[in-house]
Amino acid sequence: MISALARASAIDLTSARLGARDRELPSRRRERAWVRAAQSGSHEGMEALFRAHWAPAHRAAFLIVHDAAAAEDIAQEAFLAAIRALDRFDRRRPFGPWLHRIVVNRAIDWSRARALRREVGEPVEGEAPPKRPAGWSDEVVAALATLDPDQRAAVVLRHLLEYTPGEIAQLLELPRGTVNSRLRRALDRLASELDPPGAEGPR
């Protein structure tokens, strides 16, 4: 049974190994097979899940915390948390939202903690300038930095991971109205930074 699953996963892994930008999220059926295989101890099943979900999770964390090292830690910790709870995971539910909920909550916590964190004898006053990710414009980096972590999380869940406002409300355990207002304020802010009224030319 396990070897059959592993074989199936090994085949599917080909698609999971594609570049992050070139691949679609796995079908529900295929993902269920990966989860079942990973629960049974299959290395291939685990790798297929990881390859399919790492890039979106990592990117989401980065968009919220704006720190490459922290984003890597957060996404890694989310996968470790998922592995610890793997046996209890209900295979009828999709894996992605489960993982994204951990990632986004940890990223928000990290961003808030960084704002509070200070120690006597802090080595330097200033923060190291964040490295800009490939494929982003300076304007977007600067505009996102003006949002608070909760707003960034809402924008990332909506426009990167493509959840509906209702799904975001469930993921973050918030009233739907709160999610809508966060999204509205965040987009207003981003638009005023990136697309000021009166600007000319196609967008």
Binding site: A38, L63, L86, E119, K131, P133
Partner: protein, 416 residues
């Protein structure tokens, strides 16, 4: 098409096209950790039940053999012998820490930070590291350079030195970092604004800051000239010195600075806060100290004692005159020792078995052990022969974890 929806599409395009810096390397590192954690999971429940049944049958057969047959006595001896050669690793790889907090590790591939959930990060190519008192920063040595980093590995500052930098140690008030440059002991301010020499011709023993001293009286103990000297770090005023004794391997302050402890190769010496010798505890005959670490409360000292091809982990009470107690012995040489920050475990390396042992200081039961330690920290660097990843210091995950207990949030491991 509304202006708003056009803007949202633009935003989505930007998001889709973006990748975090060094995303491929991050994915490789993460998969390494995730794979290890997945491999270390206990088998599925069905297998659990089968294993439990098999273990129960095996235990029953073994008990019957031990109790009922003359050969049972021999089998008992054999089992003892096997356990003492090297315990079976009951964790296949480092998928989590056995106690809360974060552990600094120094390996050939550099310095690493391990979280209690098993996540680990390479901080950089450093040969020694130490926590800041609150666990928010790390001081690190790399060639002729001292560096301060945050736990994500971001370098906050670096300071060049004339000699090879070693044994950095952060002061308890957070404002100073002591380190050796060649054989010179120096002190740098924690914001890198100043740096001054304190002593020349010092031994390679890590210096030890006296805990809980007043901010204006930061006191440092270090080995030089056959003694341990106790100096006021800002003025260089000597406050005390020990009698002439063999150069210690480690120096510790115990009981909140009331005792100065030096660990030499044959004995542990306990001094008053000005260096007067109070008592010396000899290690078992023929044994040699190969590392030590003081417990977070400052009342117990763990010492690795090696004799021939065997090692023992001893614990010595520092607040009372008592003989050292052996917690665990095994064939092979232990390497590197540190306490978990909650004081519940002592971590010691067993290079021959490629394991870390988690030994309970109360001596209850066999230690847990975790295998494939070299692999966990190889980071693409082939380890030198004889070297082994060394736990260098344990810290709570966040300073807030401490509450108001007043306990020290970070501990240091044995000397390199």
């Amino acid at each position: 098409m509304t202006r708003r929806s056009a803007f949202e599409r633009r935003l989505r395009r930007e998001f889709d096209g973006a990748r975090p810096p060094r995303a491929d390397a991050a994915e490789r590192r993460a998969w390494h950790v995730v794979r290890a954690a997945h491999a270390a999971r206990p088998p599925v429940r069905a297998a659990h039940r089968a294993a439990r049944l098999a273990a129960a049958v095996a235990a029953a057969v073994l008990a019957a053999a031990l109790a009922l047959t003359p050969a049972g006595a021999k089998m008992g001896d054999w089992i003892d012998d096997v356990v003492n050669r090297a315990p079976e690793a009951n964790r296949a790889s480092l998928s989590s820490l056995p106690a809360p907090g974060r552990l600094l590790v120094v390996a050939d591939s550099g310095a690493w930070l391990v979280h209690d959930d098993g996540g680990r990060r390479r901080l950089g190519g450093f040969s020694d590291v130490t926590w800041s008192p609150g666990g928010l920063f790390v001081a690190a040595a790399r060639g002729h350079e001292l560096a301060a980093l945050d736990p994500l590995g971001h370098e906050r500052w670096t300071r060049p030195a004339s000699g090879p930098v070693s044994v950095p140690r952060w002061s308890p008030d957070g404002y100073r970092v002591a380190y050796r440059s060649g054989t010179e002991l120096r002190v740098a301010t924690a914001n890198n604004s100043d740096d001054w020499p304190l002593a020349r011709g010092t031994a390679r023993t890590p210096p030890a800051w006296k805990p809980l001293a007043a901010p204006a009286e930061q006191v440092l103990a270090f080995a030089a000239g056959g003694r341990v000297r106790i100096l006021q770090a800002d003025t260089g005023d000597e406050l005390g010195r020990t009698p002439v004794e063999p150069t210690p391997r480690e120096i510790w302050w115990a009981e909140d600075g009331r005792r100065l402890v030096t660990v030499g190769s044959r004995a542990v010496r306990i001094h008053g806060s000005r260096g007067r010798l109070l008592r010396a505890v000899e290690l078992p005959a023929g044994s040699k100290a190969a590392g030590s670490a003081v417990a977070p409360g400052g009342r117990r000292l763990a010492v690795i004692a090696t004799r021939g091809s065997a090692s023992s982990l001893l614990v010595l009470r520092l607040d009372r005159a008592a003989r050292p107690r052996s917690l665990f012995s095994a064939r092979g040489e232990f390497a590197g020792v540190t306490w978990s920050i909650d004081g519940s475990l002592v971590v010691v390396g067993l290079p021959q078995a490629d394991q870390w042992l988690y030994v309970r200081p109360r001596g209850a039961g066999a230690p847990d052990s975790v295998g494939r330690i070299r692999h966990s920290f190889e980071g693409g660097v082939a380890p030198r022969r004889g070297s082994f990843p060394r736990p260098a210091g344990w810290c709570y995950r966040e300073p807030a974890d401490l509450g108001t207990s007043g306990q020290r949030p970070c501990s240091s491991g044995s000397a390199p």
